[in-house]
């Protein structure tokens, strides 16, 4: 193993045979890991590979079942995040733990173990954020900040403890490419000061760009330790997935047909205080097209999906037309009957009911569109279990859904397999219009490539597809047209070949620009 050149004794943190069992399931199975002083170490792996479980043990959130953790050569037991912080471990979680109604300084104060006057915290936070190129106004309310800025709070909060090791969990999943670049500069600064970084990600090109070493996890075990710069994305992906990942064959851009879905000047006010209003959104999708809508999370994607699906109908019938019918005020069932299919972002509790069987989850989306096949007994509307089960099996086979048993509860499937089922449930109808929100969010690479290929094939067969996604790689893989959503406004669409990553990045940050600049001035 290539680890042998770094003896465990000289490492900042050394993990030996660390194991965590949940019942009989080994989330982490005899993991070895060494992090040297002043290195950026990548922890690579798909969702469910055990990355989060491992770092939770390092940060004292979970207790290891077996194994040892050595900190600067000394065996330690980390019983709580407080212990971890005292040792010198700081952590930035993927899901922020911030109080939106409090200011930046107040949020930082809450995480500190000792009581320090708030003014001093604000001063220190301001100084630190300036030193590391993370402009931040300590007196701003969190609710008013962008996702990137919120992440800075978490990072500054970790840095204030002057840690020797900082753990970052999927930090770029919520950032624009430009914001990510800024973050990388900060990480290089930390490295230059001799601090170590444990960087968790499943984005290969990022890891290759900034990390000195990488440890790859699969199914709870270490499957490789390497220098990512010596590897190719394909070889890293192989270590992560265990087999080669099929590449999506790009759609040909020949046969575009009639407009199947169009939205004109749609404005929707925010339903809740934390929702993003849609402002004057227009789009058209023809058969054969895949319109991808890029954007940073929380810029109106969910609201746009709700309006398109009809889960929350809009006030004007003409604002949305599906196959030339004005459907703005109609609900999701009417739109399904016109041949539209929908895949929401959240699998559990929105696209599927976790506790219900797969066959029930098929009825969930198709009780009306397939009522002739699925319902009997005239007005009693008795569900025909036999027909539903047959269709469930057909979908599972078509999409290669791996499951335990014939008809298990949706919640027992892995994210990727459930997503394949949810997408397959719509594809099975051959919808004329398909709207998908974050089709491969939190899905393993194998399933993701399968889903993307299915979307491309659907469009090729003459359907109109809208893909709302935060994942630029995915967008470049499937889209024929790309538009960008930012603060509830949708940009004009561009043909996929004409847009560079940088251009999309600028559009994604587009309306944030002015604000960020003013806050930068504020912080200085």
């Amino acid at each position: 193993m290539s680890l042998s050149d770094v003896p465990g004794s000289g490492a900042l943190l050394s993990v030996q045979q660390l194991t965590k069992l949940f019942g009989s399931f080994a989330a982490c199975n005899h993991i070895d890991l060494d992090i040297a002083h002043g290195e950026i170490h990548a922890l690579l792996g798909e969702n469910g590979a055990g990355k989060s479980t491992l770092v939770k043990m390092l940060f004292g959130v979970l207790e290891p079942t077996e194994g040892h953790i050595l900190w600067e050569g000394q065996p330690v037991s980390i019983g709580s995040p407080g212990d971890a912080r005292k040792l010198g471990i700081g952590m930035v979680f993927q899901h922020f733990s911030l109080f939106e109604a409090l200011t930046v300084a107040e949020n930082i104060a809450l995480s500190l173990d000792d009581s320090i006057p708030i003014g001093r915290i604000a001063e220190e936070a301001r100084a630190l954020s300036r030193a590391y190129g993370l402009p931040l106004d300590p007196h701003a309310h969190v609710a008013d900040l962008s996702v990137g800025e919120r992440q800075r709070i978490e990072i500054v909060r970790a840095l204030l403890q002057n840690p020797k090791l900082i753990i970052l969990d999927e930090p770029t999943s919520v950032l624009t490419p430009q914001e990510a670049d800024k973050l990388f500069e900060t990480l290089f600064k930390l490295k230059a000061e001799g601090k170590s970084v444990l960087y968790i990600s499943h984005r290969l090109e990022e890891v290759q760009r900034i990390c000195d070493r990488a440890t790859v996890l699969r199914n709870g075990s270490v499957t490789g330790a390497c220098d990512p710069r010596q590897e190719t994305p394909a070889s890293l992906a192989r270590m992560m997935v265990g087999s080669d990942v099929a590449t999506v064959t790009h759609p040909d851009r020949g046969n575009k047909g009639d407009v199947q879905l169009s939205v004109s000047n749609l404005s929707v006010s925010a339903r809740t205080p934390f929702a993003m209003p849609l402002k004057d959104v227009s789009l058209t999708v023809r058969s054969g097209e895949i319109l991808a809508i890029a954007g940073v999370a929380g810029n109106g994607q969910g609201e746009l999906f709700d309006a398109l699906s009809g889960e929350y109908p809009v006030s004007s019938p003409d604002a949305i037309t599906i196959r030339k019918k004005a459907v703005g005020t109609q609900g999701i069932t009417a739109r399904r009957l016109l041949g539209a299919g929908f895949v929401p972002e959240e699998r559990h509790g929105h696209a599927a009911v976790s506790a219900m069987k797969l066959s029930d989850n098929l009825v969930l989306a198709r009780s009306q569109s397939d009522r002739r096949a699925f319902l009997g007994g005239s007005f009693l509307k008795v569900i025909r279990r036999g027909a539903v089960k047959t269709a469930t099996k057909r979908i599972a086979d078509a999409m290669d859904v791996r499951k335990s048993g014939e008809d298990p509860a949706a919640g027992s499937l892995s994210g990727g397999n459930l997503q394949k089922f949810i997408v397959g449930r719509e594809l099975d109808r051959q919808p004329a219009v398909l709207v998908v929100n974050q089709p491969t969010w939190g899905v393993d690479a194998g399933a993701a490539s399968r889903i993307r290929q299915a979307l491309v094939d659907l469009a090729r067969n003459g359907s109109a597809v809208v893909v709302i996604s935060q994942d630029l790689d995915e967008i470049f893989e499937v889209a024929t047209e790309i538009a960008v959503i930012s603060e509830g406004r949708l940009s004009q669409p561009f043909p996929a070949g004409e847009l560079s990553r940088e251009k999309i990045g600028l559009l994604m940050g587009g309306l944030h620009e002015g604000k960020t600049a003013s806050e930068t001035a504020n912080a200085h």
Partner: protein
Amino acid sequence: MRIELEKRPQASKLYGFVSPLLALALTLIAGAIMFAILGKNPVEALDAFFLEPLLEVWSLHELAVKAAPLIMIGVGLAVCYRSNNWNIGAEGQFTIGAITGSILPIVFTEWHSPAVLPLMLVMGAIGGALFAAIPALLKAHFNTNEILTSLMLVYIAQLFLDWLIRGAWRNPQGFNFPESVPFPPEATLPAIWEESGRAHWAFVFAIVAALLVWFMLKYTLRGFEIVVLGQSERAGRFAGFSSKKMIWFSFLFSGALAGLAGISEVSGSIGHLQPAISPGYGFTAIIVAFLGRLNPLGIIASGLVLALTYLGGEAAQLSLGVSDKVTRVFQGLLLFFVLSCDTLIYYKIRIVWLRVRGGVA
């Protein structure tokens, strides 16, 4: 040492069945301790409470009489609770159903017809449904908490009945007792099997209602809608179901069944209207619904068990000389143990002996 609850990957089928039995056993043990503290022989007391009422034919009839309203209300509540609508006011809907159902025999005393009884039952069901429509309206349009509104309406219904019986509907020939005129024979729900005891048709209604609701929940799209909306409103919306319509449906449905139970009780068991017509059936039915796992077939069984606590309470009062509050204690214990044993369906219990820590502390 600490005790950890570990989530099971899937709900345990075994404990789905064992948990209510375990809850029953724990209730009996706690009950035995309670009797011992009261200075009674626990074995004798439990025997008097739970076994003796089952040994005689007439008391089996009583069991059916007490179980009928519990089951009828319980299956209605199961529909509510499965769809995530928390109707706690069945007692009030029961009371109003009894009042509206009694309009014919009390106000229109001169009208004699075989149609009286069926009309009474229908009017009782409508009354209960309309009274349940109040919390439904408040929840659907003003987003109020239905637990509070439906519960508060119970007291309004009970005081309204009290006012009615002491006022306008008091029997002029009743020596100033707070009672209505007695119902004529054609307004009385007949006994099922007259020769052996007084169990009346309400019990048949209850069983039929339970079977119909069971069929609806298990086989029909409506039942599917109820379960989906109960699990996740968002998924229900995605399926094209309306949670607002479900608020209306579940409240009107459970209100109608509670109202039907109310008029059946008055017409079949009491024979006139009086201020106290229920020993808390509407509240006990909540326990019945949960002990029966919100499954109509389970509710038939749990309705019989809870009916036994009423009979046992009466028997214990006579033979042991303890207060009939014992009934409420047993019902409370049962609900407590049922809800806590349900944890075992979704979680495993593990006892972790904490290791001695080295390093930092």
